[in-house]
Point group: C2
């Protein structure tokens, strides 16, 4: 029985390639950022070389692998494994990623969205164990969801289901998303929105107690900066974090009304804001849902913090019944 | 082979009981409003009598029926067939409707939400034929959705999935929903919101060209009244209809981003506003979705105008594999 899985997690900054056991444990991994500056085909070649290197240095043959699962940031046409567009990575427009990988291997290659891969990782080996249905939400540079229904990823017609960050939660908002629309959840709550949200609080007369160096570029306000602010009790940081939590809470509530899942798992960089953030998300959610909840609905943090993407990607062939 | 189906559609004003052919054609029907004033058990007895009457007058035995499907307005715990709460009907709080019906019949009884039943009707015999996935939206006194995935209704954990009318589309709105939350789609766009929406336009200085009788109670502003307004070009009616269309369009867009379906079917009383309404819903949807649509997404009006509820209810046992 083929028990070894291989996962690739290609994101906007980091690319990880790993051999993963059938229990979801990373056996060996190569990780780097070199893919960012390569062209489309160059990225494929790099990853193929890394998979071969992992096999060689672990004295394994290709056919010990059940398959190769690739998670990639962007809109993916799932059945064909084509990257339609990417959000945080240049290149890869209408790029047949699965086919290009497949040319190098005799075992099946599956390509999916990176958030779907993370969702699958949490579902199989993390916070979702024991459930048949869950919704995974990543709150990071952007916001996205991976929907598990009856033990399988729900992908929709094209494969782009779960683009939760583009749902509009405040149509009258002045905040504009990268997609061009106004008041998307992403525009109101994600990592990319933080500089704008912070500056807006300052413009409205709030004073931050964060000790910025002179000529600090406010565009560098990030989740980490606000975490520092939270630790020292900076009122601006705390309000921005609360506002983000409120919008995420509204978004979860909307998902709850439409899909009625038993579990939400939250991951992504901004969840490092910890309990201050999570408790406010929950507060908004349960306040809105109140007497419309008839069975327990859990909101939990992800358990596989750093490697959910690559572990989940490795599980994609399994999820497809391979 | 049992080819005759039996459906019950119990709504806030009307209760229909029908024998339906395997092709979704109504063979005989009893319809009335008497259930509104009966108590919970009285409603069951009335419907049981009507089913027996339909069988008798068509010279049929109970066992010719494949099963009985009941659609009822409200939150339903699907597996047990318990009505948790109702929206437009008094009584029926934690009422074991399925069990009470089942006591009277040896054939299986299935109880579901009325919007789910309508969705199933449209899916099997109406605007959804030929699809495997679709989302049905009813825009009427309230707003709700029925989600069909891979040829089956998606109900979620409890059975309350599709409560689309309670998704929040404008959290800063002054409009409060029957659920108590602010800025639900229902609060902004459904039949129940029309008097408030109309009055608000007047307060802001608009003048209606509708010829209201003296001392007309503005609470009676309904879909029909606005239809008249639309026909004579009343600017207030037209703006209220446009506003409703915009919010419904945003709601559909949000569903699209989360679920990526190929088809939306719109039904319910407010769709009688016709092309003026539908074209504005579509305009908002396609403007927001633009280059994020990679496969055709259709928005259509329902085809089974009056009887989708009872025809769809009749198909519930089939959908459950009975």
């Amino acid at each position: 029985m083929k028990k070894i899985l291989c996962g690739v997690d290609m994101g906007g900054t980091k690319c990880a390639v790993a051999l993963v056991s059938g229990q979801g444990i990373i056996m060996d991994k190569i990780q780097g950022c070199a893919h960012v500056d390569l062209d489309d085909d160059g990225r494929v070649e790099m990853v193929v070389d890394q998979i071969r290197e992992l096999l060689t240095r672990n004295q394994l043959e290709e056919n010990i692998l059940a398959g190769i699962g690739v998670g990639c940031a962007g809109h993916i046409r799932f059945r064909e494994g084509i990257i339609l567009t990417t959000s945080n990575l240049t290149g890869f427009k209408n790029y047949p990623l699965r086919e290009r990988f497949q040319q190098h291997f005799s075992i099946p290659v599956i390509v999916d969205n990176d958030t779907n891969a993370q969702a699958l990782g949490e579902f199989m080996y993390g916070a979702g164990r024991g459930y048949r249905d869950m919704i995974f939400i990543t709150i990071s540079t952007g916001i996205g969801a991976g929907i598990i229904m009856d033990g399988k990823l729900y992908r929709g017609q094209t494969g782009t289901a779960g683009e939760f960050g583009h749902t509009i939660v405040d149509p009258e908002s002045e905040l504009v998303c990268t997609c061009g629309n106004r008041g998307c959840l992403m525009a109101c709550a994600c990592g990319r929105a933080l500089p704008h949200l912070f500056r807006r609080k300052m413009k409205r007369g709030m004073t931050s107690t964060l000790d910025f160096p002179p000529a600090f570029n406010m565009d560098k306000i990030s989740g980490q900066v606000l975490k520092k602010g939270l630790d020292i009790g900076d009122p601006v940081s705390m309000e921005v974090i609360s506002d983000s939590a409120r919008y995420v809470g509204i978004g979860l509530y909307n998902l709850f009304q439409v899909m009625n899942p038993p579990l939400f798992v939250l991951g992504g960089g901004l969840t490092h804001w910890g309990d201050y953030y999570l408790s406010r998300i929950k507060e908004t959610f349960y306040e809105l849902a109140r007497d419309m909840i008839f069975d327990p609905v859990e909101i939990r943090l992800s358990e596989i913090i750093d490697d959910a993407g690559v572990i989940g990607a490795a599980a994609l062939p399994q999820e497809q019944g391979i």
